[in-house]
């Protein structure tokens, strides 16, 4: 039983990470009906942004708390700017093209970003040990052991998700985002600059992905140019599981997937060797039995 709860809490940590990345997939899909397959790489480049700041810029005498804060901010900004840049140069010119064109472009952007880091980052084909800036230590909750880092990952993810939720459901810009997702032409008739809203959506997804990049480095150092691929696919699965386009669904899907993965790794024979495959089993099952996802609406009505 104790082991079960241990796996459950490990699943929560993983799930928090998946949920943060999944939000970027789901928001972008909600607003432009594009699966942004480059989103995993936006997450990866964010992690490299944070690493670069720490490794090349910050003085080593800086207290680790401040360093962590700066690494986090720079990673978030890196991903956000990259997401906005990709939208502007790769997706916006294809706004009215057939659906397949931006999708293939997204895959191209994904490969281009991976290869850029591999080829042009100093010694880019080799993994980078991510700075461990958070105090080491564990807490014992009735036999379940959580590291301080685990708690930090879950707390930061929750704070970011609640902030996003408040923004989307309480602010005027958030309302304009939801309007654009439901009916872009009519949103324009309300005075909404939909191009601007689309950029904001990519930026928000990027901010969360950049934060996830740092968290990934904290729980699974080293980072390399490939980490965006698996993390991106899993987060995409989480978004589909929750119901793509649905923000609450992405969070639910992220945590569900993290927990399924942690439990399956423990309880399925030879599970740890198959660790990365459970997500795709889940994806196949969702697509077969509930293609709209847990919270998805059946069909979007659009005149």
């Amino acid at each position: 039983m104790q082991q079960f709860f241990q796996q459950l809490s490990d699943g929560l940590v993983l799930g928090a990470l998946y949920a943060l990345i999944a939000l970027g997939y789901t928001m972008v899909y909600g607003i432009v009906q594009l699966i942004n397959f480059a989103h995993g790489e936006i997450f990866m480049v964010g992690a490299f942004g944070g690493y670069t700041l720490y490794h090349y810029v910050l003085p080593s005498s800086l207290p680790s708390g401040i360093a962590l804060l700066l690494v986090l901010l720079v990673a978030m900004l890196t991903s956000a700017l990259l997401a906005a840049f990709v939208e502007r140069v790769a997706y916006r010119p294809l706004r009215n093209a057939p659906r397949l064109a931006p999708l293939i472009t997204a895959i191209g952007v994904s490969i281009a970003l991976q290869e850029s880091i591999r080829l042009f980052y100093p010694n880019g084909s080799v993994g980078k040990p991510f700075p461990q800036l958070f105090p080491r230590g564990t807490v014992d909750l009735g036999g379940v052991t959580l590291t301080y880092v685990d708690l930090f990952v879950i707390s930061l993810a929750l704070v970011l998700m609640l902030t996003l939720r408040t923004f989307v459901f309480r602010s005027a810009t958030g309302r304009a985002m939801r309007a654009t997702a439901q009916d872009p032409d009519t949103a324009r008739l309300m005075g909404v600059d939909t191009d601007r809203i689309i950029v904001i959506t990519f930026v928000l997804g990027g901010l969360l992905a950049g934060a996830a990049g740092v968290l990934q480095g904290m729980i699974a150092s080293p980072i390399d140019f490939k980490i965006g691929f698996i993390a991106g696919l899993k987060a995409f699965t989480a978004a589909v599981l929750g119901g793509i386009g649905n923000i609450t669904g992405a969070v639910l899907g992220g945590f569900t997937l993290g927990i399924v993965e942690a439990l399956a790794t423990q309880y399925v024979p030879n599970g740890s060797a198959l660790k990365d495959s459970f997500a795709f089993v889940v994806l196949v099952l969702v697509l077969v039995f509930r293609p709209t996802g847990l919270l998805g609406e059946s069909v979007r009505s659009r005149a």
């Binding site: 309302r175 939801r178 439901q182 309300m190 909404v192």
Partner: protein, 236 residues
Amino acid sequence: MSLLEVRDLRVAYGAIEAIKGISLDVEEGQVVTLIGTNGAGKTTTLRTLSGLLRPVAGQVLFDGARLDKLKAHEIVARGVAHAPEGRRIFPLMTVEENLELGAYSRKGEAIAQDVAEVFERFPRLHERRAQKAGTLSGGEQQMLAIGRALMSRPRLLMLDEPSMGLSPIMIQLIFDTVAELKAAGTTILLVEQNASAALALADTGYVLETGRVVLTGTGPDLLTDENVRKAYLGED
């Protein structure tokens, strides 16, 4: 000078020209109606005026300034509101949120007061203010679409088929609303298939056929015009 001047407007969907050179004027405080059958180009005209479609030729002047090169959101900010065909309310948002979105281009100033005014005009919406707009009846959705358009405090209100698909009681209520707005001095460009009700309210009417204006006159004149009666008012 008219509030809205449209000069030789041409709009095409790909190679097909839907609007083949339309000119019309809307004076401040007037109700102007465009009537005509399906495919005459009424909706296309409104969508072009509000910036959702780009004309291939012609000019749109609003208060003397060109609108035809502006984006839709800039046109709203100039004071042109458009309640689109099919109502197009945001179904997953509450009635109140829909109204607040109508005021998106204004930000801040006295929005709560204007929401209250819409509720006063349409008490049904007040009862349902916290409900998702998608759960409203067709008539209620049309009230919401009109109320939402008014929230931008427009100088020109464009209504596209506000009576479409509604029950006779609702149709009456919607035309009463248009009459009230007219009495209050609102400038309105009204597109309708219900030609008799529209012409009865209108200062000026334009009859459109396959992308061209084929007849113009005052509302009462067109109402009694023999050709109009035959073609659009179902008399033989």
